[in-house]
Every structure is written in structure tokens, then in C-alpha cells.
């Protein structure tokens, strides 16, 4: 087994891909309060995710998702949900930007664990151009859904 493969499929990732945090029934139209939802698809492989965000008054947020995809995309959604549960909206934007940067680093960056938590384990993915989209799928959905939630808050 090549070390690249071991970096790609770190144990954290494999674990998250199996016990998926945030993977739950969606509220859909039943959602109330400041919320947003986004459906993203990776046309190359057909991977899909539907992701909902709910904003609490105190700046906390909840993420729920349902999806079908490879271990990288599912683990990424799980890690994202875990992080979102532990932090504020403002911090999540920082994390999102960092994660994005990491994914496009082509292996030149190390994931900063203090900021990224388990998401740092995805640093190996950036060496596999074809898999970057997998890792980002849920984050794209997250950004989109969060934007909607914030807009609904402002209204």
C-alpha cells in the first residue's frame, strides 16, 4: 500500500465515513426559524448530498444531511457536521475558507488541526485532484444553505 493511499484514507476518514455525524432525517418543508437547505451533486460519479442548516439565536448552528457517495464525501459531511455543532457561524466561515485552501494546495499544506479538527485529516486528499470535489461536496452545500439561513434571519 502506498503512503499516498494511507494519507488519503486516514483512519479518521474511514471512521467518519462509517459512523456519520449529522446524517439524519431532513426536516424539509417542516423546518421553522432561520434555515437553509442545498442539494449538490457531483456529476462525474453521481454522488449527491442534501444538507440543511438551522441557525440558533445565539449564533450556534445545526447541520443535518442525507447523501449517497464515496467515503471521502460522506466523511467530509460528517466532519463538517461535527465541527458545526461545536462552534459558531463566524468560526465556521473561517474553517470553510481554510478547508477550501487546504483542498487546493496539491499537498503543499498541512491541515492545521487546532482550527480544522478532524477536517485536517483531509490534507492527503489534495494530492488526488479527482477526489477534491468529493471532499468539497458537502462544504459547497453547507455554504449555500448557510447563506440562505442568514438571509432568512435578516428578513
Amino acid at each position: 500500500m502506498s503512503t499516498q493511499m494511507q494519507q488519503l484514507y486516514q483512519q479518521v476518514i474511514l471512521d467518519h465515513s462509517r459512523s456519520r455525524i449529522g446524517n439524519a432525517d431532513l426536516l424539509g418543508d417542516a423546518a421553522t426559524g432561520a434555515h437553509g437547505s442545498s442539494h449538490q451533486i457531483n456529476p462525474t460519479c453521481g454522488d449527491e448530498i442534501e444538507l440543511e442548516t438551522e441557525l440558533a439565536g445565539d449564533g450556534g448552528l445545526t447541520v443535518r444531511w442525507s447523501g449517497d457517495g464515496c467515503s471521502i464525501s460522506m466523511a467530509s459531511a460528517s466532519v463538517l457536521s461535527e465541527l458545526a455543532g461545536d462552534t459558531t457561524v463566524a468560526d465556521m466561515f473561517v474553517i470553510e475558507a481554510k478547508f477550501h485552501e487546504l483542498m487546493h494546495s496539491r499537498g503543499t499544506l498541512e491541515g492545521e488541526e487546532e482550527i480544522l479538527g478532524d477536517a485536517a485529516a483531509f490534507s492527503g486528499v489534495s494530492k488526488f485532484p479527482a477526489r477534491i470535489k468529493c471532499a468539497l461536496l458537502s462544504w459547497v452545500a453547507f455554504k449555500d444553505a448557510l447563506n440562505q439561513a442568514q438571509t432568512s434571519l435578516e428578513e
Binding site: S2, Y9, R18, G46, D47, C70, I72, F128, R131
Partner: protein, 416 residues
């Protein structure tokens, strides 16, 4: 012979990490023998020029190469050189037919094109196993003309379910478009029976021959289809080239889609007249070097013999199918008797993308995803599969390399 010709393909010596390359993705695109690669060098160093427009020596040589390619293809698939239209890929070829019918249905092409006209009372029939290239253009045509789109379903064994053929392909059917061989299941469809039904209701037949022409002897004349499409890059030829084959009277009355230079006879500011096929469909500067290279490829295939290639790949298919049957948790899609060396499978508990990644780490190049056949995957209840597809240069070791790696996949991902 087959063990020897492997040496003609320089890329097969590549090493992937510590493993030799086992290239089992020829269903997507084939590798090229040295002689095809050399044709590019030779063409661009000795006879590159724009074709059909010049009296100078290079232009004459380039034109000769370009037209010789049509003869090569006619020898390969039947018919005459004028029946061979060059396209950028098979997708363009299929679109030329669908969009040509669209334009005919909207009054283009005059009297001669009326035979192609479609309306709300008509139907177009495809199958559930089509590649998107032979489905989406027909959806668009149905939307544009109001014609109904129908399809022939697929059985659990991955074959066309012909029990309702007579009611699906009926008197309303004006176009019947189907694939010769499934690019996912490897199934060879009963073209004769389907063409027979089309003839009975006087429907046009459009054959997607992308996965048959490279792998078995095919004669569009014997099959009696009206139009057929295939791509050069899947048949040892270069990227950037495909072909539309058609019956001459149909080609000459179908309105062209792409218009411009080299396909017209007279142009005034107000209007233009178009040439007959094949030029009619070849607007602008053509892929001349590509045609020259493909001519070399076609000769190479003819020398090896497509019957022999077919047998060789049947043997490899058997190795793959037998081997996979022994790997727990791996299920092959379809089980047709009549098939080529294309095998798609599902690995329980591991997503195809991850399967492909693992196989790649072991030097095995396969395709993962929906292989441009989403409806077929949905039919089998999956969104993505892993597909191994063979060609003449593959050998038993390539298959064994896949089987060994595949047996390790589920444990690597903890799916056992």
C-alpha cells in the same frame, strides 16, 4: 500474436507507483499503437495543409490522406467512402442526426427533408441502457417537436426486454435509436430483430456502434441500419475524431446542423446552398491529422482481424467474470451470454469511487461512476459502479492484477 502486439503500445510499459499498469479502461478510450502515434509526427512534418481548398502540393497530400481515411472506414464497416462523415466524436455524430431531424421538422431542408419531419403524433424509441449520447439528443428532439419519447426496458440479466417490442415500436415510431453493445453491461443487442421491427413500421434506425466497431466485425450494410455512429478514440485512433455513417440518400436530404465554410456550393449575403454528404456535415477545417492517424489505426485493426480481437476479448471476459464470481461481496451487473469484455460491478459496502482509488493504487486503471448511463444504473438500484473493460492489448495478467486487488478492497475499507 496478441502477446506480441502488446509491445506496440508504449503507454502499457508505464508503472503506477510500484505496480505495472493494468489498463482496463478501454471502454472509455483506447490506447494507441506506436504506428498511430508516428502518423502524427509524419503528417505534421511532411504533409500538413488545409484540405480541399488548394492546388499546392502539401494541400494535395493532405487531401489525399483525408479522403483515404473514408475508404479505410468504408472497408471496416461497409458502404462507400461518401457514406462516411467525419465528426469530433460519436456524440456529434448522433447529434447531427437528432438535430438534423429537428431542423427538418422546423421546415429546413426543403422538400427532400420532409421525410424526416416529426410531430406530436410521432414517437421516438430508445432503450434504457443507452449512453447519454444516445439518449439526451433524443429527449431534446422530443421536446422540440412534441414527439413522444419511449424506451425499451432492461431485464435483470442486463438484456433488452423485448416482450413489448411490438407495442413500444409501433406505427407512430419514426426513429428507433439503440446501442449495438452496452458500454456498462457489455451486452450485445439483437440488432437484426430490432431492425426488423423498425422496418415493419417504417422507422429510421440509428445505431450507436461505439462499443461494437472497436471490438468485433461489424457491417452497417449487413445490419441494414440507416445511420450509425462511432468514435475513433475507442478504436486505437486519436482523440478528436468520430464518424457518422449513413445511407447516402438519407445523408443527402438531412439538413446540416453546423454550417460554414467547405460545406457550401454558393453563398450570397442572403442565402446559401449546401453540398452533398459527406462535406455537407463537415463545416470548417477538419481533423485532418486525426483522420490520417485513424487510417493507420483502421489498417492495424484489419491486420489483426476483428474476429480474432473479439475471441481474444471473450476469453478475457471469461477470466474476469469467473474471477469476480469468487470474490465475496462483489456483484456483476447483468449476465448476458452475448457480450464483449466489459464488466461493471458493485462492491458491497464500498463506493465505486473508493474501489477505483484502491485499484489504482495497485496499478489497475478502471472507470468508476455512472459511465454516462444514469438511467441504467438507476434500473439496477445503484448510482455508480466500477467498470473494467478490455481491448486487444490486454492479457490474462491484467485481469489477474485486477482480481487480486479487487479481493482486497472490502477489507481495506473495513466493509467485511
Amino acid at each position: 500474436m496478441f502477446s506480441r502486439l502488446r509491445n506496440d503500445f508504449p503507454i502499457l510499459d508505464t508503472r503506477v507507483g510500484e505496480s505495472p499498469l493494468s489498463y482496463l479502461d478501454s471502454g472509455a478510450t483506447s490506447q494507441k499503437p506506436q504506428c498511430v502515434i508516428d502518423t502524427f509526427t509524419e503528417y505534421y512534418s511532411q504533409r500538413n495543409a488545409a484540405v480541399h481548398r488548394g492546388a499546392h502540393t502539401l494541400a494535395v497530400m493532405a487531401t489525399d490522406a483525408f479522403e483515404a481515411g473514408r475508404e479505410g472506414v468504408a472497408n471496416l464497416v461497409g458502404g462507400t467512402p461518401e457514406q462516411v462523415v467525419w465528426t469530433k466524436n460519436a456524440t456529434e455524430a448522433l447529434n447531427i442526426v437528432a438535430l438534423g431531424i429537428d431542423r427538418a421538422s422546423h421546415g429546413f431542408g426543403g422538400e427532400a427533408a420532409k421525410r424526416f419531419g416529426l410531430g406530436p403524433e410521432d414517437s421516438i424509441v430508445v432503450t434504457e441502457m443507452e449512453h447519454h449520447a444516445n439518449l439526451v439528443p433524443w429527449q431534446q428532439l422530443a421536446e422540440s417537436t412534441g414527439a413522444q419519447l419511449r424506451w425499451i426496458p432492461v431485464t435483470d440479466t442486463g438484456e433488452l426486454d423485448l416482450s413489448d417490442l411490438e407495442s413500444i415500436v409501433d406505427e407512430t415510431t419514426k426513429v428507433f435509436a439503440f446501442t449495438h453493445v452496452s458500454n456498462v453491461l457489455g451486452t450485445i443487442n439483437p440488432v437484426q430483430r430490432l431492425v426488423g421491427r423498425a422496418r415493419a413500421v417504417d422507422s429510421l434506425v440509428v445505431l450507436d456502434a461505439c462499443q461494437s466497431v472497436p471490438h468485433m466485425p461489424v457491417s452497417f450494410v449487413d445490419l441494414d441500419v440507416d445511420f450509425a455512429a462511432f468514435s475513433a478514440h475507442k478504436a486505437l485512433g486519436p482523440t478528436g475524431l468520430g464518424s457518422l455513417w449513413g445511407k447516402s440518400d438519407l445523408l443527402n436530404s438531412l439538413p446540416p446542423v453546423l454550417t460554414g465554410g467547405s460545406m457550401i456550393t454558393t453563398v450570397t449575403m442572403e442565402e446559401s446552398r449546401f453540398m452533398d454528404a459527406p462535406q455537407r456535415f463537415e463545416a470548417g477545417t477538419q481533423p485532418v491529422a486525426e483522420v490520417a492517424a485513424f487510417t493507420t489505426a483502421v489498417n492495424y485493426l484489419a491486420e489483426v482481424g476483428l474476429d480474432k480481437i473479439f475471441d481474444h476479448e471473450r476469453q478475457l471476459a471469461a477470466v474476469l467474470l469467473d474471477g469476480i464470481a469468487n470474490i465475496p461481496g462483489v456483484t456483476v451487473l447483468g449476465a448476458a451470454e452475448e457480450r464483449i469484455g466489459t464488466v461493471a460491478f458493485d462492491v458491497a459496502g464500498v463506493h465505486a469511487h473508493d474501489v477505483g482509488q484502491y485499484l489504482d493504487s495497485q496499478g489497475v486503471a478502471v472507470r468508476v461512476g455512472h459511465h454516462c448511463a444514469q438511467p441504467l444504473h438507476r434500473r439496477f438500484g445503484v448510482t455508480a459502479t466500477t467498470r473494467a473493460s478490455t481491448y486487444l492489448y490486454n492479457n490474462t495478467e491484467d485481469c489477474e492484477q485486477l482480481l487480486t486487488a479487487l479481493a482486497e478492497v472490502r477489507s481495506f475499507f473495513g466493509a467485511e
